[in-house]
Symmetry: C2
Subunit: 253 residues, 2 copies
DNA sequence: ACTTGACCTTGCCCCTGGGGCAAGGTTCGA
DNA sequence: TCGAACCTTGCCCCAGGGGCAAGGTCAAGT
């Protein structure tokens, strides 16, 4: 009969790779990878070629696992274990800062995931989101609101700064009750025939609203042709009546 | 002169891959990977072969990025985007649970990292850690404490359950002042010559302490030969005097 | 009309941190 | 003495892209 301690008598290295891995809570494969990467020194082998580990390896392995769990890349761990204690302490500080940052990111991601559930706050800027919300509140149809949303998405992608300037303008406009009724009437006109007799009046009211606004505002924000055309073209593409209004507005101007 | 909107007039797809990627906060490469993985439909191409995206792609891409950031594998994301809304909601719940779990893990990892800074609480069980702490408090040399620590590490790796039983025993013993003075004397004897005349007396006191303890305890915990041998052999390997004491104790028994 | 720089295209190989499997050799407990 | 549970090396595979090559295209300035 043999005791395990008979094997130990010869030296301080008695753990098999499986025992070591189990102790540290890692897989056998991981231990071998750490050997390959020179993070953990290769221990002596016993007579049959098995690796035999001692307490010093166990300690080192727990350090490695702790750093790995903290998200430190293996190459960096190798540097750290070889460095002096003051660099090590400094590195630990930085690792802790990273961990805190990651916790914060998880917090934000959780909020995002919750918003993914419903709503479009995720796809547009907060300003645009509240603009869309106002549209819904004054009774604009969901179809038109979604059309607006898509327009803003495109706008923010193509020219984020001009989109920001324009949305500020729109947020101001929607505080005006006259603009609201005008918008609601536009919404209703979506399905009208392009020959509907009510269209010229709507175009005229639109023209008047813009005129009075431009009179009040001293320096109107430069009306970038790209963006205004983008808006009209996109809108016109979905509703023939809206396209007709744009045409009428151009003629009277 | 051409306006960007001239290109748009033909359809609703106007973003280049770079604009799209920039809007969603991902790299161009990532967008192409999502095409390869069938997460994001391939948009139409313009006359020169460039991909041209619309708002619907932007929305889809933001969803994808949000899920990717939450750590959802691409294959799973593909399933989710194709599934019905109730499965989607269910999946979001599970993802959120995972995120919370990860936040908790980060909290624990931060504590571990802090302990890595100094101390050996990471390498042994809490019971062993407090035992080692007691040894330091009664004045045992650091060298011997480290020797004990390494022994416990090996013990916990080879036979965790017996180590747990033994440490309970040791924690009881160290409450006995007689055991403490005995331990401190052992510590001092580490460097003695194996022929030192004080050794037999020390061996005799050891024998007596064990005898009286065994008399008090009715059922002594099965003295596993593997473990006791491990202890004696490991200890004896580092100090000839200790080896001599073990030999003396064996003779008198 | 030409150039320059920023984009776009496809294709291929590279990285991390291991997992899985093959094809053996070893040791343990009954 | 046998089967289960170890151990050994070696090789290929995965996600989620990054980097680079070798081109084609576009807008602006001169």
């Amino acid at each position: 009969m043999r005791f395990m301690s008979d094997e130990l008598a010869g030296g301080r290295h008695l753990l098999t790779i499986g025992q070591l891995a189990n102790y540290a809570g890692v897989t056998v494969k991981a231990v071998r990878v750490y050997h390959d990467r020179d993070l953990l020194p290769e221990p002596p082998r016993d007579s049959s070629g098995y690796r035999r580990y001692g307490a010093e390896h166990a300690i080192q392995l727990v350090k490695i696992r702790t750093l790995v769990e903290a998200g430190v890349p293996l190459a960096r761990i190798k540097e750290l274990l070889g460095a002096g204690p003051e660099q090590f302490a400094e590195a630990l500080d930085e690792i802790d800062r990273n961990l805190r940052k990651r916790a914060e990111e998880i917090r934000r991601t959780r909020q995002r995931i919750a918003q993914l559930h419903s709503g479009d706050r995720l796809f547009v800027s907060p300003e645009v989101a509240s603009y869309l919300q106002r549209l819904r509140e004054i009774g604009v149809s969901e179809r038109t609101v979604l059309l607006e949303r898509d327009l803003w998405i495109l706008l923010q992608s193509v020219a984020p700064e001009q989109a920001a300037a324009w949305i500020a303008d729109k947020l101001a406009a929607i505080a005006d009750p006259e603009f609201c009724t005008l918008y609601v009437d536009y919404d209703a006109a979506f399905d009208w025939s392009p020959n509907d007799p009510r269209l010229p009046a709507l175009a005229e009211r639109t023209r008047q609203w813009f005129t009075s606004r431009d009179a009040n505002a001293e320096a109107e924000p430069a009306p970038d042709p790209t963006i205004t055309q983008l808006a009209t073209v996109t809108a016109g593409a979905s509703s023939p009546a809206w396209a007709r209004i744009a045409e009428l507005a151009k003629q009277t101007r």
